[in-house]
Amino acid sequence: MSRRENPIDRRFRELVAKGEHALIGYIVAGYPDEHTSIEVARAMIDGGVDILEIGIPFSDPIADGPTIQRASYKALSKGITPRKALEIARSIRGSYDVPLVAMTYFNIVYRQGVDRFIPLAKDNGIDGLIVPDLTYEEADDVIRIAHIHDMDLIFLVAPNTSDERLNRVASVSKGFLYLVSVYGTTGERDIFYEYTLDAIRRTKGLIMGRVPLAVGFGISKKEHARVMINAGADAIVVGSAFINIIEKSNGSRDIMLKGIRELAHELKQATRGLV
């Protein structure tokens, strides 16, 4: 049986045809509140985001820096649940044709039950799933169930991942492979070091075209996007930079949404090769 083309694959194919790279934007579901997080997603998509990553908050996000920790904590204290986060996804998917990727920690998936969470996410319009604390050694069941439900299970690799392991992870990752750009957690950074670009080149070489390569963690500026794309990234992921705009806007909705739209637009231009 040949698989139907997943929306994420299709989006990458369309972008390649246009000679573009992908901009992946990240929101925390329920931050700053349920309704506004949908508006934030809309502003990102209006600004040019190609794929939207929706963070489902977890109480103990060990891969995240202070910005996303604060946003997750706030969303949780306002009562966000995994189910409500999926409803947010559904509502975004109802008005935009943009592939959606859920990002959450394994306990959230495990607690609902892998065989319940994945079909439920799919029914709510989620096309891919990123679980930063799920290594491929522990993922047999998740891979099997994701396959049954046509959910792209997206794996991560890091600058210190060995060639051999990278090769194995690349062969199971669907939709794209996510390279963590730095030694560290999520959060805006001003500068990147040469090792990040080396990791992108090495990963790109080892993937050998099996899946697109997305690079994330710390990217906030168009200049970052450019050098990473030049090194071989097919997509860049931006999260904390958007959340910082929300925090800094001090509740002024118009300023916030305008800021998000503009940042998305600027980064999208970079992925078009226009800066």
């Binding site: 202070p66 495990y110 607690r111 210190n160 030694y183």
Partner: protein, 400 residues
Amino acid sequence: MRLKHYPIDGKFGRFGGRYVPETLIPALEELERAYIDAREDKDFKRELDYYLKHYAGRPTQLYYARNLSNAIGGASIYLKREDLLHGGAHKINNTIGQALLAKRMGKERVIAETGAGQHGVATAMACAALGLKCEIYMGSKDAERQRLNVFRMELLGAKVNKVDSGSQTLKDAINEALRDWITNVKNTYYLLGSVVGPHPYPMMVRDFQSVIGREIRKQCMNMLGGMPDAIVACVGGGSNAMGTFHEFLDSKVDLYGVEAGGHGLASNTHSATLCAGSEGVLHGMLTYLLQDEHGQVMDTHSIAAGLDYPGVGPEHAYLKSIGRVKYVNATDDEAIDAFMSLAKYEGIIPALEPAHALAYTMKIAREYGKDSSIVVTISGRGDKDVEVVQRYLVERSTKR
């Protein structure tokens, strides 16, 4: 399969494993290789034994608590005196072992988490003794509650980093230590304080603590001419309990792990993870957790800060699942009463953590009867808890 031989491929049955960000995988693999290499090395063992004896004060005594046993009128109760160790708790068994390993691995910097400060202090001591740089993560709520321990760690040369995220307690301190490790993975050694976290920590910490059980076996042979009928230890993360039980897993001895019942299981303010929790993934391991229906980890409570943790070591989760160890709990109130009893009858002030184990021991001593013997691990001394107990007694007397 003998229970002593677990873990297999990093797992205790389905529990344990490695649920961590990819950046930590090479570090955990390096750590596992280095530990297995050290474990086989006679020089490493000799150095560890040297520090355990001359620095930490091993072996610790097994003391027959005659007065307490007589007062209860049941089984003979024996105390494994880990409270007599340097630093006042069993924690030093593990920190010396891991600090020696860090040194052997050529790591320049050691980080650790601490709840009440016991593991932080024990880490700072080991690092000072071995000349390692040391940073401790501590929830800002805990740091406020345990100001003296913060100063103690600083005296010992450690830098204390306060953690403002989440519930600002032990679980958040572990989160922050893991984040630090992800960031400084090349030169940093993460010295975890209990039998928790991703493989190989639950195995390695257990191995370093299992000196407790080996000594108990030998001492029981000498004093009782055989094995005790039951062994009891308190369970926070589970290191003193695993260290006590490991030697006896394949023997005919009843084993009891005592968790913190707080205000009682029905009150929902407790830390009795195995008694009242459900399966989940936290801090790199599949184990039992106190969590809500959505998978968010809950705040916990115990009068004993060292038991105040929403997870538990995966080997305990496994031993519960196969019924080898019976996991029970004692409330704040019961622990306080046991604390007072030991002070009054034996002139020994235990830490509030092992006071939970003692409370349960006193409960079952009569059931076991006069001809039997029970060993209870007194994992630490109670100097740190005197103020808390005093406050508790005042509050209790005004409530009654």
